[in-house]
């Protein structure tokens, strides 16, 4: 009796495992298809039957993309923008979060609820006035125009994320440091930040990816080919009449690889960051 139950239990587990594998395959299939297509030569029209592994694989698409001056420039631009955004967001949001977590000050509640409500508004709602402001400040068509807007857009969410984390830190360390005469900047940099590496890593990685993938604002403000970022460069590979999909996906892969790498190395933090935000609600 007992062994029959256990066998049934194991069978169910195996069935579940199989289902998950199939599901994972379905989830991965489009990505694998993209990888395969990147190696297809002259892929203007999908072949019949579609090939996940091309019959005549070639590196030509990667060659074309990587030797295109504009594409390489776009890659570099994206690196600059994403790294700067990530660094600035992490620094500024953690400072703001610390203020929320450890201090009382006039306007705290107002600011808190304002930021909360504004988080609900889709970022594209701001694009028109942001564009006008950028025009007036002569920041259109410049990478700084991108960075500043990205950083501003990431303030609210990351501030809340980190605030929740900071609040959960035990106060004793900070209080004893205060009593020893340390000022708040020292406490912040020497105690709070080092203890918060998981949350900070989450913020850094997410804001990097956000800036890396952002398309709409970049599309709106950038016209010069020297300052275009990666998503725009990829979109430009789409032709008016016919599109070389192999080229598009080879370009896409070069953009996706940093994402995947970051993801593999920082997987723990992704999950932690998400769930921390969820539980704080």
């Amino acid at each position: 009796m007992i062994s029959a139950n256990r066998r049934a239990y194991r069978n169910v587990n195996i069935a579940i495992f199989v289902i998950l594998c199939v599901g994972a395959l379905l989830a991965m299939a489009p990505m694998l298809y993209m990888v395969g297509t990147a190696f297809k030569p002259d892929a203007y029209l999908p072949e019949f039957p579609p090939q996940f592994i091309p019959e005549q694989p070639t590196l030509a698409n990667f060659e074309t993309a990587l030797t295109s001056r504009n594409f390489v420039q776009a890659f570099l631009n994206s690196v600059i923008v994403a790294v700067s955004t990530s660094a600035l967001v992490t620094t500024l949001a953690s400072m703001m979060a610390y203020a929320f977590a450890r201090f009382e000050f006039r306007g705290k509640r107002f600011l808190f609820y304002t930021m909360l409500v504004m988080m609900m508004i889709p970022s594209m709602m701001f694009i028109i006035p942001q564009f006008i402001v950028a025009s007036r400040l002569q920041l259109t068509n410049k990478l700084w125009g991108l960075i500043l807007v990205y950083v501003a857009g990431g303030m609210a969410f990351n501030c809340f994320l980190l605030r929740g984390f900071f609040e959960a830190l035990p106060r004793e360390l900070e209080e004893s440091a205060l009593m020893d005469g340390a000022n708040h900047l020292t406490i912040f940099t020497r105690i709070v930040l080092p203890l918060s590496t998981p949350a900070l890593s989450t913020v850094a990685v997410f804001s990097f990816l956000g800036a890396w993938d952002e398309y709409t604002w970049a599309l709106t403000t950038l016209t010069d080919e020297n300052v275009r970022t990666l998503p725009i460069a990829i979109a430009n590979f789409r032709g008016v009449h016919a599109t070389d999909w192999g080229l598009v996906f080879a370009a896409s892969l070069t953009a996706v690889i940093p994402t995947v790498l970051l993801f593999i190395f920082f997987q723990r933090y992704f999950v932690q960051g998400l769930t921390a935000g969820a539980i704080r609600g």
Binding site: L20, A27, P49, F103, Q130, D213, V256, T275
Partner: protein
């Protein structure tokens, strides 16, 4: 130092204390110093634009430098209410949100429950399902564009026609509004399932196993356990996921912009693509600004309603 002055300084500080309501142990300006850099950027690029946008919405705004804009008062808002294209786009967006949110929650929860059951390779599954979430919208939009190609060799057409024989002949997915929505919704769900799955998984892991065991002893079967233990205890996560997914659903833009451009015949237009087109395509920035405000109001309202509906006291166990 003169003791007299030290004594008189104290009450003054105390008054400043109370005024600024700060906790003792630091100077009054310390929290503001921490806030200042981030807040400055936030005000310049988020708060100020939001207010400025309201101002713009009362004009027929001329974007070119040195040009005059005509004040039109509430005309833009009046036009919105009469604009059937806008309401159609809103309907499209709402339907998209409905379909994709339900899809992501149901599938996300289902997968989370399954992954929760297996110990082996849990991290791997989590990673695989989550990968689409972190992939760029631009890349996946092109990917689905290619997969839903109208030709017989398009992946979806091939599977449905030649492999599973569900359809008699290849479909021009993006050439037809109804079928185009299938592609757009599929993309939305596929890209988001991993996100909700990860959150549900974490929530599930927070439920003590003893509860299930106790229920099993009392005679409850799987379904009852799910309904009476699992669901209630992940309520907080469920609410959070729903709210975020709805926000995300209304945020849809890139997939529509790159896959159909709002067509054919503007039938796949969503609110954001409509606003973008009116502002940057037709150069009607004033109208676009008023659209943004109306939309923002709608979305915030929806979120508040959601939060009200879902709120119940936390369950003690």
């Amino acid at each position: 130092m003169n003791p007299g002055t030290a004594v008189t300084r104290q009450p003054l500080l105390k008054r400043v204390n109370t005024l600024l309501r700060y906790s003792p142990g630091h100077r009054w300006y310390v929290p503001y110093l921490f806030l200042l850099p981030g807040l400055t950027l936030y005000i310049l690029w988020m708060l100020y634009p939001l207010v400025y946008e309201l101002y713009i919405s009362f004009f027929d705004w001329n974007i070119m430098p040195g040009q005059v804009s005509e004040f039109v008062g509430l005309e833009n808002y009046r036009e919105i209410f009469a604009d059937s294209n806008f309401w159609f786009a809103l309907r499209n967006t709402a339907l998209y949100a409905l379909v994709t949110v339900i899809g992501q929650i149901v599938l996300g929860l289902a997968v989370a429950l399954l992954v929760h059951r297996v110990i082996f390779a849990r991290r791997v599954f989590r990673a695989i399902y989550y990968l689409p979430v972190v992939t760029s919208w631009v890349v996946v939009a092109f990917l689905f564009l290619y997969m839903f190609n109208a030709q017989a060799g398009g992946l979806i057409n091939y599977l449905l026609v030649s492999v599973f024989h569900v359809l008699p002949e290849p479909v021009a997915w993006l050439g037809n509004p109804d079928t185009a929505w299938v592609a757009i919704d599929a993309l939305g769900i596929w890209k988001g399932v991993g996100w909700s799955m990860v959150l549900f998984l974490a929530a599930l892991q927070g439920i003590p196993v003893e509860l299930y065991e106790a229920a099993a002893i009392d005679g409850a079967d799987e379904k009852q356990q799910f309904l009476h233990i699992t669901l209630p205890l992940i309520r907080a996560t469920l609410l959070f996921v729903t709210v975020m997914l709805v926000i995300g659903g209304f945020n849809v833009f890139i997939s529509v912009y790159l896959m159909t451009g709002g067509g054919p015949l503007h039938r796949t237009e969503v609110v954001l693509s409509y606003m973008y087109n009116r502002a940057f395509g037709r150069l009607r920035f004033g109208y676009g600004a008023s659209l943004s405000y109306v939309l923002a109001a709608i979305i915030v309202t929806i979120n508040f309603v959601q939060m009200r509906l879902f709120r119940r006291p936390t369950i003690e166990y």
